[in-house]
């Protein structure tokens, strides 16, 4: 037992030396996580997009239409750009000077005052998801508010007192309560997952590169020798360095980045620490196994970099797991990100606990076992091949 521990430490110290002397590993493991965390994080600093440009072509030019446009301009989401005509508004959208246009035909005020329904037209560029849906929501709310105002005035004219007139104006109301992300902001949704993904990808790229480098140099037998002939000691000796380094990063991100980016933390620290520990224990054998099957260090970096977006998209975070095709669900279940994100987001964003996520934790433990076996098998195979080559 003591010998195994000593061997693990030997491999661990060797890994520190290896990382310290390789520029690429230094960049990937020491610079990239911090750089990416601050850089990517800062994109969503404001969390929601504001003042989306909307062209308005007002052919009515009445007091009501001017009030409508002025109220629209006061909304946080919209910023009005004047257009001389409907065609001008369209051209502005085509050139990318605005994300949609509102057309107010002549006769709006006259119709409203004459208790006739008046029409206005909103066209938004739905090729851009976020701004168009926010704009449409804002203009709909404004049109409904103006409608409620007209009814209120009508009810008052019918002789109701203010309170009764108000009740008659809108008898059924929608009370919308977004839970766990009160502003429904894209930034608050994406940032916790993004920070975890940065940790995952840099760890996997770095570790796969390190193993591929040893493989390229024919050094696998010497690592096994250092580990006292034990494949698992070699695996966990290499992995210990990454476990400690990424443990430190996690601590740093959860304290510094969460605080700078004002990300709410609703769960218990112990629960998050446990799930990250388990996550890294799963990622380490996965990274080692990938390193054993990729031919060299260069290709490890080249191939792994293309995995970032697909992994993020199939992990059930950006796109619901249930909405994936069945074979993609199978693939998604094989990556540690899927169960990890479920537990991590439940704890951090929703204030959940480990006991709320038992299934996902068991899933993660099973993946840890699977990848540990694959990693040991990969090291063993490499050791055999390189030993026979040296003979």
């Amino acid at each position: 037992m003591f010998n195994t521990f000593r061997n693990i430490i030997k491999v661990f110290l060797r890994e520190i030396k290896l990382v310290g002397t390789d520029h690429s590993l230094l960049l990937t493991l020491l610079l990239a996580p911090v750089f990416y965390a601050f850089f990517y994080g800062s994109i969503y600093k404001f969390k929601v997009e504001e003042k989306v440009l909307l062209a308005v072509a007002d052919d009515d030019k009445s007091e009501l239409s001017r009030t409508f446009v002025s109220e629209l301009n006061k909304m946080q989401i919209a910023s009005v750009v004047g257009a001389t005509s409907l065609q001008d508004a369209k051209e502005k959208m085509y050139y990318g000077d605005c994300q949609g246009f509102l057309y107010i035909p002549s006769g709006l005020e006259k119709k409203v005052l004459g208790l006739q329904q008046a029409d206005i037209v909103l066209a938004v560029n739905a090729a851009r998801f976020l701004p168009s849906s926010e704009l449409a929501g804002a203009v709909t709310t404004l049109a409904l508010t103006v409608g409620a105002g007209v009814r209120l005035k009508y009810n008052e004219m019918q002789g109701y007192n203010t309170q009764m007139a108000m009740q008659e104006t809108q008898p059924v109301n929608l009370d919308y309560r977004p839970v766990f992300n009160s502003r429904s902001s894209y930034g608050a949704f994406l940032l916790p997952g993004l920070l975890a993904l940065i940790l995952q990808q840099t760890l996997l790229i770095g570790l796969a590169e390190s193993v591929a480098l040893d493989k390229e140099r024919g050094l696998i037998p010497s690592v096994i020798q250092l580990a006292g002939g034990s494949f698992s000691a070699a695996l966990w000796g290499k992995g210990l360095f990454y476990l400690l380094l990424y443990g430190c990063y996690t601590l740093f991100f959860l304290n510094v980045n969460y605080s700078i980016l004002e990300i709410p933390f609703r769960g218990h620290v112990g629960d998050v620490a446990f799930v990250f520990f388990l996550f890294f224990l799963t990622l380490i054998p996965l990274g080692v196994w990938l390193g054993t099957i990729i031919p060299n260090q260069l290709m490890a970096a080249q191939i792994m970099v293309f995995s970032t977006y697909p992994v993020f998209l199939i992990a059930g975070y950006a796109w619901p797991y249930e909405a994936l095709p069945v074979f993609m669900q199978g693939l998604s279940s094989l990556i540690p990100t899927t169960p990890f994100m479920k537990v991590y987001i439940s704890i951090v964003q929703m204030g959940g606990t480990l006991s709320d996520n038992v299934e996902a934790i068991i899933h993660l433990i099973m993946l840890c076992g699977l990848y540990a076996l694959l990693a040991i098998w990969g090291i063993r195979r490499l050791n055999k091949n390189q030993q026979s080559l040296s003979l």
């Binding site: 997009e49 989306v52 007209v150 008898p171 977004p178 429904s184 191939i303 998209l313 709320d356």
Partner: protein, 389 residues
């Protein structure tokens, strides 16, 4: 000169087909990522998301509202709950994505002119599903509320058109142009694939010159290029431009039409824009490859430079919502102006006259990167001649 350039292009293709670090990235990765992205969004929308009903009213109206909610695309009523605590617990466990509460005596309150509030709770830690459910639920509940108002006016003997004018004095007609159904596949797949393809070109071109230095074949290349750096850069560049045309065919003839309802073969405008992006990527990649002799460091620089492209391009989160320094960083990458142009040619199907700005900016990357690379490479070749002498 043309023959020299042609020979270098052929030599580069031979290198591409014989070196795994080139053919894996250039020829195997593209179909893999294209089909992977296509299949992720195969279902196009997130449908039938689990929603709970907390019905304290238990009335004909609440049952009618529940029925209308169930009829929508995103909502699927899976549970009945009896308290806010139960609702929250189910959300925490991920068993439901939203909950709708009908208050006690809802029907009576409506009849006796007391304002009623129907509460919609959505789990917005998952913003995509939260917004989809809100959009559908709000539509149903606003329509239902308007129906209640309309009935009240009609009951007083008011003509239906006049009652309608009071219910909705300003009728807003909204057109969601270019992606009316907010189809995720149509929206995300083309952008993700374009990002992947430019990344592929950049990741291989960052190692095309320094690998020759590392392998000691730069001398042979110099002889073949008759000492001219321009021949090397153009010859090698043409090989990668040719490879990118294969990617273009894969994307526009198979993946876009099959997965994203795109036109077969794209359009002339799209082809021109794509070429400008690829030429910019080749110029930048080769410049890095010439300036950084260490292949691994050059590869890492390629990773750092190109992997944030999608997020910074404004494809999902608009650039104007980012702090100024991130907006500046976005402009360092050619993918940002490409995305602006891509929205216009691919989704909006606009002619090239609306793309002058984006095309001009894309050209700038080549105008800056190519001469820098050319100057340094020529200097290196000259030095090599001196050493040889």
């Amino acid at each position: 000169m043309i023959k020299t350039v042609f020979n270098i292009t052929i030599r580069e293709w031979k290198r591409i087909l014989s070196r795994p670090q080139l053919y894996v990235v250039l020829l195997i990765v593209p179909p893999v990522i294209c089909f992977l992205y296509g299949f992720i969004y195969e279902k196009e929308f997130a449908r039938d998301l689990p929603v709970a009903i907390w019905d304290e009213s238990n009335s004909p109206l609440s049952r009618q509202f529940t029925f209308m909610l169930e009829e929508t695309e995103s909502i699927h009523i899976t549970r009945q709950v009896h308290s806010a605590v139960e609702l929250k617990q189910l959300m925490e466990r991920g068993e439901i994505q939203a909950g709708i509460h009908f208050p006690k005596r809802m029907d009576d309150d409506i009849k006796s002119r007391r304002t009623v509030y129907i509460t919609l709770y959505t789990n917005t830690s998952m913003v995509v599903t939260g917004k989809l459910i809100y959009k559908d639920a709000a539509k149903v509940l606003i329509t239902a509320g308007s129906g209640v108002i309309l009935q009240k006016f009609v009951k007083t003997g008011m003509a239906e058109d006049k009652a309608m004018a009071l219910v909705q004095p300003i009728r807003l007609t909204t057109y969601f142009l270019y992606n009316a159904q907010y189809n995720y596949m149509k929206y995300l797949v083309p952008g993700l694939i374009a990002m992947g393809l430019q990344m592929i070109i950049l990741m291989v071109t960052v190692i095309v010159i320094n690998e020759e230095e590392k392998d000691g074949t730069i001398g042979e290349l110099k002889v073949m290029a008759k000492g001219a750096a321009s021949n090397i850069m153009i010859g090698k560049g043409l090989a990668y431009l040719g490879a990118s045309w294969l990617h273009y065919l894969l994307a526009t003839c198979i993946v876009y039409p099959f997965f994203a309802q795109g036109q077969i073969g794209g359009s002339v405008s799209l082809f021109i824009l794509f070429n400008l992006l690829i030429i910019a990527c080749i110029s930048i990649g080769m410049m890095i490859s010439i300036l950084v002799s260490d292949v691994m460091v050059a590869c890492d620089l390629g990773v750092f430079y190109t992997s944030p492209a999608f997020v910074f391009s404004g494809f999902t989160f608009p650039r104007w919502g980012m702090p100024w320094y991130d907006q500046f960083y976005a402009w360092i990458m050619p993918f940002a102006p490409f995305v602006d142009g891509f929205f216009k040619v691919f989704f909006m199907e606009l002619p090239l006259k609306y793309l002058h700005h984006e095309m001009g900016v894309l050209l700038l990357y080549t105008i800056i990167a190519f001469p820098i690379g050319l100057f340094v490479l020529q200097h290196k070749l000259n030095k090599l001649s001196l050493q040889h002498v």
